[in-house]
Point group: D2
Chain length 454, copies 4
């Protein structure tokens, strides 16, 4: 389960490209398949860009920062769905428009992208990538013909765009940050040495020694031009529909989204599970890394002692070689190793973030059993996945979803657990009660914030 | 002095991508900074592409050919002018149009590219590269809205395009090859195992074991669709204006362009120089590699014996490290080493292809003198460079041209030669008398085939 | 703080090189600077080797396994001290002897290496590496002249070697595993599909789906030849002196060394600290990853709740670019991010494995304080470092050790902690009471298992 | 046909490592499979080394020169025979001896290496490489025990070494250059800015802006220590036996060996062929690059005009991908392209350096015939290969040699030539009449300068 992308922007900041790289390190959990930075440099009044497939540590070297002058930068980390892992789909995207070159980064997914694309192609426009972002760039460029005002152009484009989008962009030394009218993906604003910065998550602001200022509101457009920071709105107002999976899995636990700590949301998930799915047990453990905090919550809620159950091997690369079937089977074992002395003879509650296809849960439970666990009770910080996501969460097609394929009993049996408990659907919104905004839980409930055509 | 690019296309040929790679090896002299191949595969009805900065041997490995299925391919080698050496400018260019994805390769330069680009941007179109090729793609995509017929669309677009262009493209399993109405850049057609192929130079057809069929005529559009190969024309008819520098320097001597052997053109350059700039001497040598054949022509024309004068070091890479000024000065010496025993005590005629800035000619003459040459008479297979080129030849700006900066005597003195002779301007067209077409010699004469707006 | 190396051997196992790679993944925490595998292949009766600087995931690709045929393999991961990070110091080491080519891997350090080296050089021997391993190879090769029996040769060589060594080697299809007479470094034996394997830690045996059989005894030599597995002894018998730092830091918590679980040793360290350095506090956290288990022990011992205090960023590479001082300071912040909501307003006990120079402890405490921790009480799972190690633990020179430079009060103040507690020296051996063997705690106590000349 | 290696040394020269790299560029034709440089730096009194598989342009980057301080350097380019292309066989070789670390580079081959190796192994010495050089290092280290005088040690070692060796080495700031008693491989001395340099060929001295001083005499040892350059001799005096293939193929034509220009030797080869194997023809061409000068000699000797017959493609890499049989066949065609207009309808004399297995000569002749040559007369600058070489020339085993397998008529027929002429064996020594030394032509005559035990 992955999401697509993290974004960052810095305006008027010395060493802007290097700061962007630091911020992208902190956002790397949102996408590891590609990354890029574009800067605008007043002296040459031009955009510079370095982007490629790979992680920040692989893409950026000292020479690259020399090639990225200027005090304004946008940056991007990318997760791509299968098949689209191509250099031309990495971001930032550059778009030469009549008003100048636009450098654009985007996190999210338009549910009407295909329709918009067909419509734009019918006007003679050409598409050089497979991404939604190019659709957004075209809508903007088209509106910029009608109005030279980028904010007006954005507002017009937003009436056409359906779905999730957190954008940061540079145009001729003006920076714009935009969050879609439902606020489906996070986007916040901070301040570093007096300069505004924007990031998908607040943890990236900390990484550049910045101070968190506030989240963008659903539908908000922030324009930074010289010393002026102005706020506008676009699209239809909504009660908000943040992807709840940001709290459960995507976001880093030290981030705060819409006033709600991700750390606390995960503790709460554990406590709700302890309440809704209690069990007699000797030990609560989390599956590293995303189940660890919820496990503490479960321990608190249940009074069962909390401990470490696994050693995780940090050295397994994406380039791990799997020459034979025999070797392939070893990958789970290599990545995750049970602590026999911790679990032997014990009734263990094992907390994990989600259960999607059910392919790795079985081997994980088996590791504990083989290490001597007397019982293994699986608790999942999310309800069962039953429906597609149109907004950027990479949910597999329905026929691959464990909770679609099997009954609760079958699934419990398949994964070899002694019991299996999901977060109740009606408690999902309790994970983050302090945000003052609503959530999208469409992948669990089948109810989306608007009627999705297609 | 470099030109921009070489192109190739193969239609209905097994292992099309591998053949394209072989052809690009043979065209590599036309551009070493980037290359790429796109294939169209009927099974998936989709385009696949691999391209990157670097030479063919660096960009393509065995895995890449697996990623390039299909029996139709276009390929490109790229030379880029300073500053534009960026991944996003490599080709093929993909353009998603209403009629399908276009894969396009281009050799040449539009003299009205900037004006067209401004016009297209004013319609809300966005530009993601710096290249003329994107302008061509937009013109085509625009025309494809008005007519679904790609040939009609090309003919319409050609009325807008001014300058040089040899194009090969794939659209939904149809291949098109186009040569601009002046035939400024070469483009020919061959046949491999019954399948049509297209290439910038005939040497590439030989490299894939093909048979040369014919050159495309100025303004010709060849369309290949299934078993049908049809010819059309676009743009205003002309008497032809092939860049004469193709014969002097760009093309490989085993190529034949418009019925005229490049090898013979170079021999002829040497003979004309022997006639127009005779001198008493003991030995004629060529500067490797492009002066070698003309030296033979000079020897034949003058009766002076011909020999080898230099050893060329093939192992110096682009990545040659030049940490200090002292080291930098060594690069000419490393690349070119005089054969002392061949030149010692002799009056030497040294034939080279052209003299642009005059920066390497001096050190080269000095090598011969230091090796004991009694006299060094420099003969140049081209007239003095005096004017800009708008059609893809990378002529430096006027103030850097040796023949603009210095008088003939000053220049002779600066390079340390005992005499210096250029090919007479009025003999330029005699280099290739058998083509039946005219030539462009604008960089020497200031006279271009049409009035270039700028 | 690092140790030098991990070793592995597999005898008579299909895909021996691939198994070795899996095992090296599991041992990678013992050394990330270089790795290698050598195999012996009966068909050609020869040794094959691939080794290089880098981690397993960087050094080994599919082609390498084709180049490593045979069912017998030895493997090595290397940590190198400053200055010695050179390709020629990677292992396995090959040594052509009169009896055949020896492939040797080694974990440990000879305290009399320099003296032995001088002695061997005086006999006309040449050294091609900087490592102790070459000394061992020479001693062995020399003894093999006197006796063709490799076990007798090993026993003779062991009388000369002082210090720590766990060895695995191949000679003409015979495998030998050796642990030094004090058992200073771990070495154990397992069984995979009926074939014997050897590894520095038991976690590597699990990684190849093996079954742990037993630890080698101090001074033990195990010889595997065809179906025979025989045990011999060399050197003077001892009560054992395993490096206690294996339990505190080096070994993986899922390993069991000499019958003592590393996981339990760390829990015990936490409990002893709770007992010896109690404090009133609201939360116990561990510094990831090596302080996490001890933190649970402290929580159990003290009754103070346990939680997560930090998010660790797994994406920071060794190649992290630090162009400016400003950026450098960010590295701790990038790697470790405090969970403000967990620590805000709380009195926090922070447990870490050791305190060596004291350079990162200060910034780590500062992160918690800046995140709002009311108090930070640092607890260290080891006594103060005061003395050098001669046996392979990379203890810095005395003048760099925090506990040498500063008094307890000064140090507490420098790191900004509200209190600081070390594991009491007299409790060190209580960490692992079940091993039935003694420990070396020379770096804390200055008392070594034998009198070290030098 | 390849030889093993080129060597270089510089003593007391600023930027010694960079100079060595420049010299290795000029020696790269002697070996492209690996290279390395070691420097000695007085300040640290230690040796630094960078070496790896690959060409100079691949192995050395700016960082490497920073890692190679000091004003004394030795360098090496390596050609390796099949199977030995391993990192551990690259040079310089470092050998820690009682007198200090020796850095050694070697061109040549000991005919008694295997016997010496067995003898040394029987003394308990270990071999870490497959190369003769390690045998030399051991002999030297052994002698250095008996005498601390490196020259005396060398003289003693030379009485044991049979075969070819040109050595340069550094020991504690003393440089030694040694040429074997037969002078089988070239080695010369030059001077750069007052500092002595040594190189396999004089062309490398020119590459570092040096002045050629003299060749080392057979058996000569030159020692450089501070300002003193002293000459000694070792081994039995001989009349000299330089490998004649140095003149025919290995050496660069701008080099002068033992007073004899390689360029002139090749001209002479062509003239002798014109005399011994005359033919009626219209054109003489050389196979690039090593046949080009001999072709001029043949033209001079015969009066037949000389011309260019082929275009050579410089862009084909070692990494050329040959996925199918069809592609493989294209490699000759890709590398060498005939100039149809030059050869069409003509009787062509094609001069090449040697004919070993006869596998590429056939396709090359076929290219000319297919391009329209009326007749192709092949002339070879060497006699037929009939015997093994024990001194470093990589002659295949007898059963693979074309002149062993087939009669002259069969061979002529197989390669498709109209006639075939080899350099007469009795004229071989006439190639280089001015050296004042004898030659080894054992691979042609079966007569070696001494009786080779095997």
């Amino acid at each position: 389960m992955h999401e697509e992308c993290g974004v960052f922007g810095a305006y008027g900041l010395a060493s802007a490209a290097e700061r962007a790289a630091l911020a992208l390190y902190a956002l790397q959990h949102r996408g590891q398949e590609g990354c890029g930075i574009a800067t605008y440099d007043e002296a040459s009044a031009s955009i510079h860009m370095v982007k490629n497939l790979g992680q920040v540590k692989e893409v950026f070297g000292p020479k690259d920062f020399l090639a990225l002058p200027g005090d304004k930068a946008v940056g991007h980390v990318r997760y791509s769905t299968t098949g689209g892992n191509l250099p031309r789909n990495t971001q930032p995207m550059l778009a030469g428009t009549r008003e100048g070159t636009l450098a654009l980064v985007h996190n999210g997914n338009l549910s009407n992208a295909a329709a918009l694309r067909r419509e734009l192609e019918a006007k003679g426009l050409i598409f050089q990538t497979d991404s939604d972002t190019e659709v957004i760039a075209y809508l903007l460029a088209g509106e910029l013909i009608r109005t030279k005002d980028i904010v007006a152009a954005l507002q017009a484009a937003m009436t056409r765009m359906e779905g999730s989008y957190s954008l940061v962009m540079l145009l001729n030394g003006t920076m714009l940050a935009v969050r879609d009218p439902f606020g489906m993906r996070p986007l916040c604003m901070g301040e570093v040495e007096g300069s505004p910065v924007f990031a998908s998550e607040s943890c990236a602001i900390g990484a550049v020694r910045g101070r968190f200022v506030r989240d963008l509101k659903p539908g908000e457009i922030v324009r930074v031009e010289g010393k002026n920071v102005d706020s506008f709105f676009g699209g239809k107002p909504s009660a908000g529909a943040l992807c709840i999976f940001e709290h459960i899995y995507f976001a880093r636990p030290d981030s705060v989204i819409d006033g709600q700590s991700v750390y606390e949301a995960r503790l709460r998930a554990g406590r709700i599970l302890a309440e809704s799915h209690p069990v007699k047990a000797d030990l609560v453990i989390g599956v590293p890394d995303s189940g660890l905090i919820a496990a503490i919550g479960y321990a608190e809620g249940s009074g069962i002692p909390h401990g470490e159950g696994f050693v995780i091997n940090r050295y397994i690369g994406r380039t791990f070689i799997e020459p034979t079937q025999e070797m392939r089977a070893s990958k789970v074992r290599l990545k995750l190793s049970p602590l026999r002395r911790a679990v032997e003879g014990k009734r263990v509650v094992m907390v994990d973030d989600s259960l999607v296809r059910g392919t790795t849960m079985g081997p994980t439970v088996a590791l504990l059993k083989k290490a001597g666990a007397a019982e293994v009770h699986v608790r999942i910080c999310a309800p069962p996945f039953l429906y597609p996501c149109y907004f950027g969460t990479d949910v597999p097609s329905r026929e691959l979803l464990a909770s679609v394929r099997w009954s609760h009993e079958e699934l419990t049996h398949r994964i070899g657990a002694d019991s299996l408990g999901f977060l109740p659907l009606n408690r999902v919104h309790d994970l983050a009660p302090n945000s003052g905004l609503g959530f999208c839980d469409g992948c669990f409930s089948g109810k989306y914030p608007y009627e999705v055509a297609e």
